[in-house]
Subunit: 209 residues, 4 copies
Amino acid sequence: MPRAVREQQMLDAAVQIFGQRGYMAASMDEIAELAGVSKPLVYLYLNSKEDLFTACIRREATALTRAVRAGVRTDLPADRQLWDGLRAFFQHTAEHPDAWSVLHLQARTHGEPFAAEAAAMRTEIVSFVTRLVAVAAREAHRDPDLPEHEVAGLAEALVGAAESLAAWANTTPGVTARQAASTLMNFAWSGLGALMRGRRWTPPPEGVV
Amino acid sequence: MPRAVREQQMLDAAVQIFGQRGYMAASMDEIAELAGVSKPLVYLYLNSKEDLFTACIRREATALTRAVRAGVRTDLPADRQLWDGLRAFFQHTAEHPDAWSVLHLQARTHGEPFAAEAAAMRTEIVSFVTRLVAVAAREAHRDPDLPEHEVAGLAEALVGAAESLAAWANTTPGVTARQAASTLMNFAWSGLGALMRGRRWTPPPEGVV
Amino acid sequence: MPRAVREQQMLDAAVQIFGQRGYMAASMDEIAELAGVSKPLVYLYLNSKEDLFTACIRREATALTRAVRAGVRTDLPADRQLWDGLRAFFQHTAEHPDAWSVLHLQARTHGEPFAAEAAAMRTEIVSFVTRLVAVAAREAHRDPDLPEHEVAGLAEALVGAAESLAAWANTTPGVTARQAASTLMNFAWSGLGALMRGRRWTPPPEGVV
Amino acid sequence: MPRAVREQQMLDAAVQIFGQRGYMAASMDEIAELAGVSKPLVYLYLNSKEDLFTACIRREATALTRAVRAGVRTDLPADRQLWDGLRAFFQHTAEHPDAWSVLHLQARTHGEPFAAEAAAMRTEIVSFVTRLVAVAAREAHRDPDLPEHEVAGLAEALVGAAESLAAWANTTPGVTARQAASTLMNFAWSGLGALMRGRRWTPPPEGVV
DNA sequence: AATGAATGAGTGTTCATTCAT
DNA sequence: AATGAATGAACACTCATTCAT
């Protein structure tokens, strides 16, 4: 059996085990057994547990970003892009829960090198959303001086909300990924629109609390 | 030294080690040493590593919800309650990063029993936000039939956004916790208000993508 | 059982196993079993296989040099000192063959850190012999300008001869350690005496061979 | 490429790796890679790691004894034979340090079968020296009853001294192999001569120490 | 109330060795 | 004649956990 195929089988098994057990509780023995190969072969092809985990993160990060990108047509209006991106994101995470666990939980929980790997992917998604928010602001013609760090914060908030809703939709019976996407899209687009029209909420002066 | 005090010292040490090293990489040896007691004493008081971790989660979950509750006066308007809650949340997580790591990362990453423990706290916070959203809807007199699962989704999204911004504010230079809270509050309140006034975003018909 | 005692038991076992199997072929399992303790205890007390090996080398090097020193009275004439030193050396190596294997074979064969440890002991013995040769030269009043590096070379040769004879005496039936010492002493003292009296052997001019 | 040539390449690589890493730390992978062939080919030609190591020892033992024999003309006087043999020995070991490491360190350190192989070569060299010592005794016409085991011991001592000096000359700056040979030759020949003339050193009675 | 001493069970990792081709 | 693919067996090392005191 050619090496490339075997390697993908190993990564499949590793993502599953890492996603379900967690990085540290996952044993190379179990991964090898699930992949149907001997442990030395896993080491021959993937070097070490750390390298194997990194390979999992990279593969699944690429798969997720690719799925989102594939769902979005950049020639459509910003709202449509955001909607399509959300749909693709919710769908992919729902279809690959172990991969999502690896990216969203495990990678962030086990030290800098792995967290950085997952952060790179997240940064890419946040950049995508940041661009959409900026485009929406431009389309609204209203608030040209929306401060840069506020745009960044909005993108962060949107991504965080999506991550949270992905888990919620996956675990709450009676809630589909589409409904979750719809709820978030409604909320986000309304909020962005209102912000663009200058409707701001004024916090009370510091120290009053 | 009375048992209750010793126990708190042990929990302090455990939260710090668990938060920094992660649940599995944390060793009972290190925790006992940091607490300044012998390992058998840790076992005598807290039974096992799992129980110790559970105790950490419970204590920190209680501390966080208490901090948020303490920051909110339920006799004030909903927007003010949300603002105050966000401020308290951002402040507490910024001041107790190890505790936040335990609740937000470690507890969710290492199996059902722990995840459930952290989820209970999160549910409480989500309930609080849910109530605020409902109150806001009532105050707006406009959309009495905002579906229940949409309200729940909005609360989920808000909490997720807050979690995401907490990490962002803590790691991005030049962004204060207050700015993050402000950005989120603006966005959320505008979005909620617009939603209440019936401004919805209509998704394109399924299958077009 | 107190720690110090256990540690010596472990070192006893380790010297035996290292001496018989060699550093790499020795397994920590076997050492622990021979010492009558569990493997983790060996690690608790001696840290690692490398540290355990180093501890063996150090202990046995100290024991050997101590034995030689204890056999020699520095207020006696040089010939008597050399004789007593040789006797002590042959006796100690014959009585502790595993320790001698560790010092003479294993330590030199498995990398710099260990070799350096054993070399330090050997250097000490060579220095002792060097001093004796120098004293002998002074006592002979004859050859004050015996070049320094020749004295060093003689000491090296003597120590090498002793090492070689130690193994020979231990493995050749019918040859006692005392006889070996006697042979070497005769040879060495005659050679030194002749050298001191200026009897030199002239090598043929270079290139003739 | 003919088998015989390939085999020598493998042995070249093996001697280098065994000499530098040691028998156990040497890996068949590294040897095969250095030899520029695949691992199965090494097994096809040389059967096993043990057989490969034995082949290395045998080849290098033969090479060393051949070099010494080639340096000696048995029709010359005994002193000249000894001198020439020493020169050849020092030169060969200096020029093939990995081979010398294999013979002098590795082979003796890793179990009977290998040690016996190296001991056979050493025995041959010791025999050669023994013969020279006996010839020297005969030439001196003085001490016909030099006991046999003393002659053997002298030869052992001489060979040990040479081995020791070989290492010393190779690692001490400012000392050439020729100087080392000269020092040893001077010492040995003077000592032998004195012994032959009956100058003996009388040990003090036992038990006095 | 508190601990020094001790371990069973399991981990990641390596390596000599063998087939099928 | 030569190899890519694969493995069984073993090893160093760690850790949660428990006695005896």
